[in-house]
């Protein structure tokens, strides 16, 4: 090993070419802002607000016939009337119970499945494909089977909500788990972490960003699933309300329903993101 002398020799001059007079550098432009400044949490309301204003304007000027789509202001009046009559609250609570119970169960199962499948070979072999198949099959096609096994009561509805909520949680958490930096796994091995501690200290926190993304998809999925499910053995719920309004073309009620969905969607997304910001406060990321 002593003949190190056989290395190639590169002279400094070769390296540092352009010998010719210094080239005119491209004019320095004002540095572009690559990371956007932080938007306040309510900032995302700007878009929806503009939308509602445009809609209202279109309704007022007659561009949009109220026969086709009620104006937001009409919907406010109708919504207020429904609130005063107490019907809106009833429908909302009926749906909320189903949606949130299904959400809780689905998120828990999705998380457990993702961990089992992400961290063990047998788990992946048995779980992953089944979840892929499940999510490829439309809920509408699963309803007959669900009725067969679980009847037409609340159990069936909550089960179906849970299975649809499970999918984004599973996929995102699983993908995030699979994306955990191998260096941290090595560290875990080198300090002799057991499986449970590895899960708690490395796998879960490492997969947390993915889990939250899945959760964001889940918190709205649990509500949208209700439109179909509340056609079955119910007389209460936002989904039921929407279906009946659609049957009889009650555009004002439809718009009230849309507003409920929109508010729910925005509120739950903002809630999850607030949670996420707190849980991931250690991150030094573009959007942090």
């Amino acid at each position: 090993m002593s003949d190190r002398a056989s290395y190639e020799l590169i002279s400094v001059a070769d390296v540092l070419l352009p010998i010719d007079p210094p080239q005119p550098r491209p004019a320095p432009r004002a540095a572009p802002v690559l990371a956007p400044r932080r938007l306040p949490a309510w900032g995302i309301l700007f878009g929806p607000l503009v939308l509602v204003l445009v809609w209202e304007a279109a309704s007022q000027t007659g561009l949009l016939s109220p026969r086709l789509l009620a104006a937001p202001s009409t919907a406010v009046t109708s919504g207020f009337a429904m609130l005063q009559a107490g019907t809106l609250q009833e429908h909302f609570l009926a749906s909320a119970q189903r949606a949130w119970l299904g959400l809780g169960i689905g998120v828990a199962i999705g998380l457990v499945l993702a961990l089992a499948s992400g961290l063990t070979r047998l788990g992946e072999a048995s779980i992953d494909g089944v979840v892929q198949v499940k999510r490829a099959i439309p809920t509408l096609a699963l309803i007959p089977l669900a009725i067969l096994w679980l009847g037409i009561g609340e159990v069936m509805k909550i089960a179906l909500i849970a299975t649809s909520v499970l999918v984004p949680v599973y996929i995102n958490t699983h993908a995030a788990l699979r994306g955990i930096d191998l260096r941290f796994v090595e560290l875990a091995r080198s300090v002799g972490l057991g499986r449970a501690e590895f899960l708690r200290r490395v796998a879960l926190p490492g997969a947390l960003p993915g889990f939250f993304t899945g959760l964001r998809l889940a918190v709205t999925a649990c509500w949208t699933a209700l439109v179909v499910l509340e056609q079955i053995n119910t007389t209460e719920g936002i989904g039921y309300l929407m279906n009946r309004a659609r049957d009889y073309g009650q555009t004002d009620v439809i718009v009230v329903g849309l507003a409920v969905y929109a508010v729910l969607g925005l509120a739950s997304d903002m809630a999850v993101r607030a949670l996420e910001r707190r849980a991931l406060s250690w991150r030094k990321a573009l959007g942090a």
Partner: protein, 309 residues
Amino acid sequence: ADLPRRVPPGTRLVAADQNQALQTMMQASGEHGRLAATVNYANFLGGPAILEAFRAGALDLGIVGNTPPIQAHAAGERIPIIAARTSTEPDYKFAVRPGLTVATLKDFAGKRIAYAEGTGRQPFVLRALQLAGLTRRDVRLVPLRVSDFPDAVRGGQVDLAPLNEPHFSRYLAQWADRGASALPADQHADLPRRLSYLYASGRALDDSAKAAALRDFVIRWIAASRWSKARPEEWVQAYYVRLQNLRPEDGRAIEASEGEYRFPALSTLIAPHQSTIDLIHAAGDIPRRLDAREEFDLRFDAVIAEHAA
């Protein structure tokens, strides 16, 4: 006022079909080729989407059961009925869950009955209750999607479900061993008969070319319907077997369940239609009592009388 008769060349109609039944019947009977206007068919599954398509101006006419015109009316849309076809058979038959027997309509009391708001089965069930002298409070109406009725009744989730063919016959045949049964046929005698409406958008009816084309369509449709009854085997083959992939016996059962067709004058339908409206109104689904007369275009009675005789 009379309907215009001249159909200018280039007149077009778009017809809402359900399960391709209208289109197949028109074509298999050869009546489609005799139409004066160019007719395209848009196939749908389910009523609400048809109403929305009418609103969007995408349709000129459609074939539906007895409730969609009421829904359209309630929604403030003008889609008058331009022809009707009644049958001698009941619209649906009540299947009874395995292990239970229901001998008369009066026995409905206290039972769980599958119920689908916004569909033809709603007035059907409500009428049955009315005949039995019962109110909604004497039974449990279980809201379900129509497609879930067979599953619900065979799984015992409901005690009674109004089924159409082939589900009704198949239910009785396949679940006989578990004690599947039905409300006796004679108990169906006073229940609503099968009823199909052709209805057309007010805008098409205001357009003289389209109105004439619609008049022509009604004539051809009556002929095609007659053809299907005159050549049931050809109809079953063309539609149920070839197009819908059903076994011939299923197809025949469905065909038989339709009974004989009649094409009554629309004016004679106003009273029964009003009572259907009243049933639904009493159920609380429509905010105000609608006037059935507004849902018919009686100008078509002349052409119906001429061709239905």
